[in-house]
């Protein structure tokens, strides 16, 4: 199963051009949804205003070389290793979901655009990465959904309670799970089940990519920018009004004063 390209198997009933058009529409929905979200929430305006304000308050200038170093640190620590998370379980689940989704997404695009039919054999590494990516999303996603979500663990809510914050993770794990089930039935030749799960897969994927303006999908674009801004602010000598580290406080304690409220 790990070596079969489910999209090549589908090309017998659905033209590759239609599959490719669907992928392009989904990409357009992500771009459009992110832009709509940016305008609606005024995220870009907030980001640039914070950037200007931080620059005006900076106590030291950050040079070009240091800025490049901060960009590398952001990419390595905050983006590639999800350094923001303080909860180790959540960080591991996030990394699994993130890398799984990237592998799944990239290999989907490769299979649909480069190997859409059985005429060209799909390299085993591409199909294997598609399945492994999808499995990683499932492991990370279900782990998060059932065991790590704070409102479930701490507040005793049902693991099946759905709120708007869950839209992204639910549509993601639904889409990927349905993709795996569809690919399984496709490889076993159960045409009826394969068609049914294909239809569900398309619905879940359309919800995932079409709901960007309402879901947390766009966090993958915002978060790196916010992490970079935070690092630049710290390098500029700004500490978001936080106290100085305890080993060198600006003022250790405060001068004793007589009460003046009597």
């Amino acid at each position: 199963m790990l070596t079969s390209n489910p999209f090549a198997g589908l090309s017998g009933s659905i033209s590759p051009a239609i599959m490719q058009a669907y992928v392009i529409v989904m990409i357009a929905l992500v771009v459009g949804g992110t832009l709509l979200d940016l305008v609606h929430k005024k995220s870009a305006r907030y980001f640039f205003e914070s950037w200007r304000s931080a620059k005006a308050r900076a106590t030291r200038q950050v040079g070009g070389g240091e800025m490049a170093s901060l960009a590398v640190q952001t990419a390595v620590v905050d983006v590639m290793t999800s350094g923001e998370f303080c909860n180790a379980r959540r960080r591991i689940a996030h990394l699994m979901t993130m890398y799984g989704f990237l592998a799944y997404l990239i290999t989907t695009v490769i299979m649909v655009f480069v190997y859409p039919t059985s005429a060209t054999a799909t390299p085993g590494i591409v199909t294997a990465l598609w399945y492994i990516g999808a499995l990683l999303v499932c492991i990370g996603g279900y782990w998060f959904w059932f065991f790590i979500r704070v409102d479930v663990a701490a507040e005793g809510n049902s693991p099946f309670r759905l709120v708007r914050a869950d839209l992204f993770v639910v549509s993601l794990i639904a889409s990927v799970t349905l993709a795996l089930i569809w690919a399984f039935f496709q490889s076993t030749g159960a045409a009826g089940w394969a068609t049914a799960f294909l239809a569900l897969y398309i619905v879940a994927s359309t919800v995932l990519f079409g709901s960007v303006a309402w879901s947390k999908f766009a966090h993958m674009f915002y978060k790196p920018a916010a992490a970079f801004q935070k690092r630049v602010e710290e390098a500029s000598g700004l500490r978001r009004n936080l106290p100085a580290p305890a080993n060198s406080p600006a003022t250790f304690g405060s001068a004793r004063q007589l009460p003046q409220n009597y």
Binding site: D151, K216, P245, A246, S254
Partner: protein, 153 residues
Amino acid sequence: MPTFVYMTSCDGCGHCVDICPSDIMHIDTTYRRAYNIEPNMCWECYSCVKACPQNAIDCRGYADFAPLGHSVRVLREDQKGTISWKIKFRDGREKNFVSPIRTTPWGSIKAPSDYAAPSADAMKSQQLAHEPEALKVDKLPALRPDQLKQGIA
């Protein structure tokens, strides 16, 4: 001074939700970030402020203490065992305080759930579970039975 969350700094880890004795720190259903659902029910224990690993929780000072435009920021440093408070008034004045949190390393105190469950016989003892070992003494000070009768005719 009830607490509030800077939602752009919060990562939704839930430490504040777990620790809040008033159960008023909740996770927002739209953005999955913490927020204080009922500031007027806040006990002002500042457990959430001290527990937040992202320094995303701040206190809103009372007007007689710190008029509008102030900030009360907290920095907890686990490795140093300190907590620092910085109060910045709107006229630019600052007050900084540093206090030790504890004398033992962070995370070194055993949680009650880490102790073995006491046996049924332990119910007959007047001591609490795991006393006196957990208190690091050989024996708890107590009056002997003959001392209890002193002064009673």
